[in-house]
Symmetry: C2
Subunit: 599 residues, 2 copies
């Protein structure tokens, strides 16, 4: 089991050198003065907690799993205690506004901590992670009383939250959910139905659980426009805020699943449970979007965490493990074989993990800065612009980071050879844990449709243009920098191709709407690779500038340039296949009748 | 849990219509007269056994796993009983020559059965599967007495076999193994050392286990040229063939691993265990090659099995599961949503699985025919030619089928959405079970080096030319068939490109041997996609010919053509990225010092 080590130097690089966190915060009055010393101090403290409290219970949590008995869920050994420390250290309230009892720090710092927590122990991190979504929903859509009763307890971490959307027959298609909410005389609602896949739906870590539940009011319109959002507490709350009697919501079972064994994935049965409407009737999905966008960035972080964690594990092994000789002659003739890091194929896997981890970090942090502006920006124009970029990049980040994270996790197993398949080495757990990331909070295919259909084509390309303009400006500004030509030239071409490809698909989609579905996943990958190319080019530029100045960290900055070069040479060419596949259109996908797939 | 259904129609198609099994067998005097009725009867009986005996204990075997206590391994419920039936039905002896007590049927029929067994229950299938390798080793390299004592019992299935190669520090690099063999006075050897990852090393299914063990004689040369091969029985065998006293080989523990839980992966401790030399001293690896080639085709079959099994599961679900409406309007307006098979992205995953499964089947069966000739061909020239093709195609089949099988298994999970992550649906088990296939019997990276380094470049391209000539002839023969142009044109171009690419890499490798390692994996994928393109083009041609004739199965043959078209449009373009990546060479892989991968 590799011990997790927080990548502090790289976090600092992205936060301060690439994205100028201090200047970013100073432009938002709510966050002004959030300086580097403060930020680094917070991150270092969180790193310490993650390395020493969460990482040690990651493998044991996987092996032990959660236990269910008669409605009660017991989390793995150490989970509860770690959670107590976590709330004592004040993490749940970190990025919550002071108005709601929080510390008022920017969400982007919260997301940086989420990466650390998630890499150290994803299953554990989901317990506070789900609360975070509930907090955001209540901050934005709860009424004063709801904020006072529920939000305040979520913010301290005394209670945790969930997100009850999915039903056995309804996952991606929330329009067909059946859980119903019938008005009680006291203004509350009786919620009845069954929800599945409820992460952290029941556990022993907090005294109460606040379920945020999608349900239908009597006579509500069919489909997504007839869904409302409710608070359903595990225990009802007395007038004085104390815990009251048990509400009629009960965990019916927990799922046996591929990974995230330390997290309880619950079937939740609501049997006339008392619930309280959040926001307007039938507008539940709109309110839920706040939750879902947070969750999607959170899931993108799972991809980043998988890439980082598996990279750390694989790198340790590749330096230690001796097998075969380098094809160019022994590199460690005194040993019985060379360490496998001498072999190009092993390096290819390590560099792929590294490029995905560091590129993913850059994307998550960039997105988080836009999210800061959406959350607390001082003027509407800036907020609108940031929201547009965020809307475009969220499905890319969610799908591309989770898919590349899964690929990276598989490279981790592969670098270990047969040992990668064995539990004690920890590599296969990352594969199992992160496989869910490509599924929950909207599958890769759903993200792809969201990107190409809703975000790009439905806006006539407006959101895309906002972003390609940023890339264009960057390319223009650096076109005369000879040392950057190896990055700027291909990036310029790809950025233009992104628009052309969009036009091409848009034209075809006017003839046949299925062209969107046929192109969407490849389009998403293309978009992801170009977005990473932009970020890697920017990182290379920062490194060049530092090297041109007065730095003692030449190895660090040279490694950035080398990794950028690797990315452009070895990963970016994958765009070629996606472009070619998109060009072949929908026909070969739709030709076969459903009954003729097998005989 | 989807119930496994053997794809009999497709097996018949590949065996009889694509590869003309009867003619093939008639050309080999040992197999002459193996007619369609016989073949189909055997396959159907095996299908029945696999569907009704093995498939039902696949998921339970995964959940229960093997249990270890004090050297004793208990297999999951039902495994032992199924094995008894399997040997009663005579399967272990099916493809063993009559000379050695077998039924003398061709290995290609044995491989077809392996697919059925492996798709129904891979973990179970490994127990007899490992025996098969031991049988082949003893058939080819054992002396008369060894054949009489050990081979005869392996052939009946009364005893099982293993393959003890790996040590904790030595997997891919067998040259550094340490297990030693010291001569005893009676001509036997005392084997001492520890082997790990020994599949079926200990279990409760048979009364004795025949370990085939790699070890070093005293004073043997270093490296791979100082390794010898030994038989080490679990129980020594008395003169009269009865089971004697326990030998000093013992299972120390079983591994906890990602998948194949039903198969015992053992640590085997040899403590002066009595062993018997197989073949000449220090030539153990050469003797082992027989075993390894069998094992590599066997592992390729695991990839095919994963593709077929996950395709069956995903197809069932995609037809049943309702979610969202088709973008071109409701297809089942009477239901609350359309079945997900209407969505292009879902179809893309299903067709990818289908193209990999059916293409993989064609490749395995084709290889198996060449293996039949190598095994029992009537003249040396034909045998040599078949061996060349087999040598070239084995690493392609092993790596490409296992990687595409793993991809297909992941599509299976993805089609199920969140349900794919849940054990009871069976999709995640396929992912976990098949992940090992890319690792054992030589990782993908090792296969890639074997292909590009040993098989292609070291022969100056001779083996490759043998195969590209076959493709070339096929293209030439069909170049005027307008209906085939969509396949023949790209195949002709790719076939030529295969040679050009090889030249390009060969030239660079003369400057820097690491260019081979840098290009190998992409080269292997390229080779795999082209090989599949050839097979899919051939399948499309057969289908066209059948449709031009008098057939009632127009849907079946049209589906073949449609799937071929899908393959050419949607999967074959992946070659573009591999070609482009190969062109970028080794530089960006080797630039980073091992100590600068992380800071």
């Amino acid at each position: 089991m590799p011990q997790y080590k927080a990548p502090l130097r790289d976090i600092q690089f992205v936060m301060h050198e690439l994205l100028n966190a201090e200047q970013h915060y100073d432009k938002i009055s709510a966050y002004a003065g959030t300086n580097r010393e403060l930020i680094d101090g917070i991150i270092e403290a969180a790193a310490d907690f993650c390395e020493n409290e969460l990482s040690p219970i990651n493998h044991s949590g996987d092996q032990e799993g959660c236990h269910y008995e008669d409605g009660v869920v017991t989390t793995p050994k150490g989970f509860k205690e770690a959670y107590q420390k976590y709330i004592e250290l004040g993490y749940p309230s970190l990025a919550v506004s002071a108005e709601h009892g929080g510390q008022g720090l920017p969400g982007s710092i919260g997301n940086a901590i989420s990466e650390l927590v998630g890499t150290a122990n994803w299953s554990w991190g989901m317990y506070p992670g789900l609360s975070h979504g509930a907090i955001r929903t209540l901050e934005h859509h709860g009424n004063e009383q709801q904020k006072q009763v529920y939000l305040s307890k979520l913010v301290t971490g005394e209670w945790t939250g969930t997100m009850c959307l999915t039903e056995a027959h309804a996952g991606s298609d929330l329009g067909i959910i059946r859980t119903k909410a019938e008005p009680n005389e006291d203004g509350s609602y009786a919620i009845t139905g069954q929800k599945i896949f409820i992460s952290a739906g029941e556990h022993d870590m907090a005294e109460n659980i606040v379920h945020i539940v999608l349900a239908r009011l009597p006579g509500a319109p069919k489909g997504t426009k007839g869904i409302s959002l409710f608070i359903v507490p595990k225990f009802n709350v007395n007038e004085d805020g104390s815990i009251g009697e048990r509400n009629k919501v009960r965990c019916g079972s927990i799922e046996h699943k591929m990974g995230i064994h330390g997290n309880a994935t619950c079937v939740m049965n609501f049997d006339s449970a008392k619930g309280f409407l959040i926001g307007p009737e039938n507008r539940g999905l709109n309110c839920m979007f706040t939750f879902m966008n947070v969750a999607r960035i959170g899931t993108a972080i799972q991809g980043l965490a998988a890439a980082e964690g598996s990279f750390q594990g694989a790198l340790t092994y590749a330096r230690d493990r001796l097998a075969m000789r380098s094809l160019t002659g022994p590199k460690m003739p005194e040993k019985e074989a060379d360490p496998i890091i001498v072999h190009p194929a092993v390096r290819n896997m390590l560099l792929t993990q590294k490029a995905f981890a560091e590129g993913g970090r850059a994307l998550v942090y960039l997105l988080s800065q836009f999210a800061d502006i959406v959350e607390a920006g001082d003027n509407e124009e800036e907020k609108k612009y940031a929201d547009n970029i965020l809307s475009l990049l969220t499905p890319i980040a969610k799908a591309f980071l989770t898919e590349t994270g899964y690929e990276a996790a598989n490279h981790g197993v592969q670098v270990y050879g047969g040992h990668g398949f064995i539990s004690e080495w920890g590599m296969e757990q990352i594969v199992r844990d992160t496989r869910i990331a490509c599924l929950y909070e909207g599958t890769t295919e759903i993200q792809a449709l969201d990107l190409l259909g809703r975000k790009v084509l439905q806006t006539q390309g407006a959101l895309l243009k906002d972003f390609t303009k940023i890339i264009h400006k960057f390319c223009e500004a650096n076109k005369d920098n000879a040392a950057m030509a190896e990055f700027i030239e291909p990036l310029t071409a790809l950025n233009k191709e992104w628009g052309d490809l969009t036009m091409q698909i848009g034209m075809k989609a006017m003839q046949n709407p299925d062209e969107v579905g046929a192109a969407a996943v490849d389009y998403l990958y293309f978009s992801g690779y170009v977005t990473f190319a932009y970020l890697w080019a920017r990182m290379a530029l920062v490194a060049q500038e530092k090297l041109a100045g007065d730095t003692t960290e030449t190895d660090f900055y040279n490694a950035k340039i080398t990794t950028a070069r690797f990315y452009f040479k070895k990963l970016l060419p994958r765009t070629r296949s996606h472009v070619e596949v998109i060009a072949t259109g929908v026909e070969s996908l739709m030709a076969l009748d459903a009954e003729h797939f097998a005989f």
